[in-house]
Symmetry: C2
Subunit: 200 residues, 2 copies
């Protein structure tokens, strides 16, 4: 009898890749039963690509085109095609700084997840930790959610709370949230891989 | 040398008074250095009045007038006058189901606090636990905040997180949040009374 094939994930990121590293490390230690099929970035020299290559995971830069906050049509098609060729079951956004539009989401309905640095529905959009600090909340956190056509509006899959401390700066709060993300994201991925969370 | 006078609080509520009871019990056991000067209710047979009388705390019903969600002009004036005569330093809303308007808030600027059953700014308004459940968040909670002219928009003084469980009904979640409120509200009152939280 053959073993059930593992969930194949593709990770998209634009930054240094600390959240990706947490996922890859969880996989390497056997806590996360997935295959990381590939890592894609819109930024040629993103640390996430280096983090992947160092671990022997296929990593590729795809130029995003001329827009600043989304992919142009050709780039979007290239992302979709590359993920399809890699037979990816689930697309994991880990600090990917471009909004994914209709064609991409229709190609992978209910198969794109993201982590957002607030307790949604509070503080959608950019620099959520700074928004939280400026609002004056005492508790914020992070949220793993399905990506839909809205900005940070998709179904919530998991959340962790993070205290805001009196002495916090935007950077110190951001750092505390990121540390929590590095625990929450692998845990939610594990639950998806084991079928404990259904994506619909 | 005379001791610094204790903070005098007036509690306003419309319901059975479980949050008030938690505050009164914290005071009775010495954990909360305040005087509860009086309890007022817009509901003649509200349990909170009975809870107060049982503890020997002055308790009074003031008829709210003809509106359903606020006090009419005479009732508002009666609430203000009664709280002034009792020399109340801080007005503590504990399940008070009417919106307090400009005249009341101007009479007690930065001296009215409320507890709301969500992690604000998420889920303002009525039945916040039900809103949270319907949205699908995994973490909600409660928030103590200054009351300003908006609905649940005043400065946040304290928050506690409460998990949403897969089997939760609106009632079970509401109950779990209320239990947390009964810890958070006395604790924030204690910090106000000790000057650890300044109301401005």
């Amino acid at each position: 009898m053959s073993e059930k094939p593992r969930l194949r994930i593709g990770v998209l990121g634009s930054g240094k890749g600390s959240t990706f590293a947490a996922i890859a490390d969880a996989r390497a230690t056997g806590r996360l039963p997935v295959e990381i099929s590939l890592v894609l970035s819109d930024v040629a020299d993103a640390g996430i690509l280096e983090q992947a290559r160092r671990r022997g995971i296929p990593a590729q830069h795809i130029a995003p085109g001329d827009y600043r906050t989304k992919l142009d049509e050709n780039a979007e098609a290239a992302f979709i095609e590359t993920l399809r060729v890699a037979r990816v079951d689930l697309i994991v956004l880990a600090g990917f700084m471009r909004i994914l539009k209709g064609d991409f989401l229709r190609a992978f309905t209910n198969r794109v997840i993201n982590i957002h640095p607030s307790l949604l529905p509070s503080f959608t959009g950019l620099a959520a930790w700074k928004q939280a600090l400026e609002y004056g909340v005492k508790i914020t956190g992070c949220t793993v959610h399905l990506v839909d056509q809205g900005i940070d509006t998709g179904r919530i899959l998991g959340q962790s709370a993070v205290p805001v401390l009196p002495e916090d700066s935007p950077d110190s709060l951001r750092h505390r949230i990121q540390e929590t993300e590095q625990t929450l994201y692998p845990e939610i991925l594990r639950q998806i891989a084991l079928g404990e969370i259904k994506l619909g």
